[in-house]
Symmetry: C2
DNA sequence: TGATTTTATGAAAGCGTTTACATAATTGTG
DNA sequence: CACAATTATGTAAACGCTTTCATAAAATCA
């Protein structure tokens, strides 16, 4: 590996000067710059970012923890982040937490050991206090899809309660009163909040909530299918089903078809997230838009501003979901 | 930040010893190890991987270039990789190449500057020669979804020709002869190869290939929709349509429905990749399975073995696709 | 027990940069 | 043109580890 030293010798300057041209810092005469550039090209020099990071105490790397890599959701989110970071020449070190507190902590720890300049965390199992304590230790982090009052400034989240409300409110508005709910994992904040929204909508419209119409799934398509089967098996009567995400909604649609129930004629279905394939289904899935890419990019801008001193960007710390009307909902007979 | 030095003083040992207990190298007496561990705990020591990387010339980091982050495909692939790497305590530095040769090169360069121990590349625009030259320079890399004879050992790919063949052969086998083809971007190797497979299947079965039945899309859902419209507009007659991926297949299904053509009764549809949502569609999409997660994990194992000396794993450098029969194909009337 | 292995530890030289700080070269001013 | 101000460059000390080599301590052996 050729070093800055060798370049400096070849160019007849000191290594400090070479460093200056590499980083575009300080002042260097045009002619000198050219000599250095030529020397670098001729020697095939490649900057050693590891050494630079050690010396400068900046890695230009953002640690990113997401629960999983597969599926449509996190890719879209990371895509939003990446787009913003790439222009700033920052990179992302990616780790998965698998919704397990132990693993999440280990991964956060590993990313900090690697001296990431900041962390973007989509973690679900670790406690609020733990995240708060990290912030108090001076770790630069933004928590995504989760709102923690005490460090609200570090959070970017969607109003899941409102989303849940919007979904069920839509069903109520078009005339449904017997609405089943397939929830996400209730130990996760978003799973719980979306259900809360559903309950609020029912309450607002004077419809009684009953556990008998609710099934706790796990955000996976299969649990949507199982949810419908379980609901029907327990004799629940419903003309609509709200699901805590699109995967479960598509699973539910499959089960409904198996049972000979048409969507939306017999049963309306609404999802949540508006992942890319929601519009591929037929009928297209009515759902709640989760501006996931936007959230990803806001997280990036937060970091760019806070950690790297880029100019101010506009934030909302709590984004609003909105209803996306497609073909899976209609008024009951 | 507390350093190894401070730990060593507190524990009354040298920093070399502290390094030994951190890395589990050399020999250190149990009692000493404990003293060091205690000191680390009390001081809240956090290992500085950047410094360690500089000194040891290993970053334990794999650079990963994919075209995009959104969609179901690359997440699944990276998920396969991550799972294997996590156990080995390696991390992934992720970059996107956007199918642009310039960007792909820049990203590869950036990852090398960060001294990644190895690269996993899903690149589409950069030339074979460029990748070959990297390998000859001694860069440890595995190329995914692309086969380059000269560095075949570094490649893990799917036999796309065979996949294309399998898809169209299935349609032919069940009696179709008028088969439209919605291709992926033909400047990409997989787009081209899948089309080649289609053509071979036709030839094998004595059906003439005609450009009039082929539309070049871009692997996105919308281009599937446009493909059907264009085909119909140019008066093409077909009873089946093979698509170069599942996104375009779902786009095609949408267009077919708009035109009042039932799937599969009037037109059979087959996709490619078997991404997660293929089974959510209704009818479920018949497609070709791309064992993408497996490929991701094979890439990881290649690296673990080659770069980190882990024990030998079984490879196939060219994997075989297989047909997944679901509900979108049936014999023509 | 003294000699010989073996095991445990320390000293110190890197690893390839960045970045004060100091100094040299250049430009500007009256 | 002398002197001040400005611009350009160099020197050398970090940055926090790993790792070789030497040496000290402990264990083994005859």
């Amino acid at each position: 590996m050729v070093t800055i030293k060798q370049v400096s010798e070849k160019a007849g300057v000191s290594s400090a000067t070479v460093s200056r041209v590499i980083n575009n810092t300080g002042t260097v005469k045009e002619k000198t710059r050219e000599r250095v550039m030529t020397a670098m090209a001729e020697l095939g020099y490649r900057h050693n970012v590891v050494a630079a990071s050690l010396a400068s105490n900046k890695t230009h790397t953002i640690g990113y923890v997401v629960p999983e890599l597969h599926g449509s959701f996190f890719g879209a989110m990371m895509g939003g982040t990446e787009q913003a970071l790439r222009q700033a020449k920052k990179h992302m070190l990616i780790a998965t937490g698998h919704s397990d507190a132990q693993i999440e902590k280990e991964q956060i720890d590993a990313l900090l050991s690697r001296r990431c300049d900041a962390l973007i965390l989509h973690v679900e199992a670790v406690s609020d206090e733990y995240l708060v304590s990290l912030v108090h230790q001076g770790v630069e982090l933004v928590v995504v899809n989760r709102f923690i009052e005490e460090i609200g400034d570090n959070c970017i989240s969607l109003d899941n309660v409102k989303g849940g409300y919007l979904a069920s409110r839509h069903l109520l508005d078009i005339g449904h009163t017997k609405i089943a709910y397939i929830a996400g994992s209730l130990f996760k904040a978003d799973g719980k909040n979306r259900l809360t929204g559903h309950q609020q909508a029912l309450a607002d419209m004077g419809v009684e909530y009953t556990d008998n119409l609710t099934y706790e799934g796990n955000f996976q398509a299969k649990s949507g299918t199982e949810g419908i089967r379980a609901l029907v098996a327990r004799g629940a009567k419903f003309t609509a089903v709200a699901c805590a995400n699109d995967e479960m909604a598509s699973g539910a649609m499959i089960a409904l078809r198996e049972l000979g129930r048409r969507v939306p004629e017999d049963v309306s279905v609404i999802g949540f997230d508006n992942v890319d394939f929601a519009s591929y289904l037929s009928p297209g899935l009515t759902t709640i838009d989760y501006p996931v890419q936007k959230i990803g990019s806001m997280a990036a801008h937060w970091v760019l501003e806070r950690v790297y001193g880029h100019t101010r960007h506009e934030y909302q710390h709590i984004l609003s979901p909105r209803l996306i009307l497609r073909g899976t909902t209609s008024s009951p007979e």
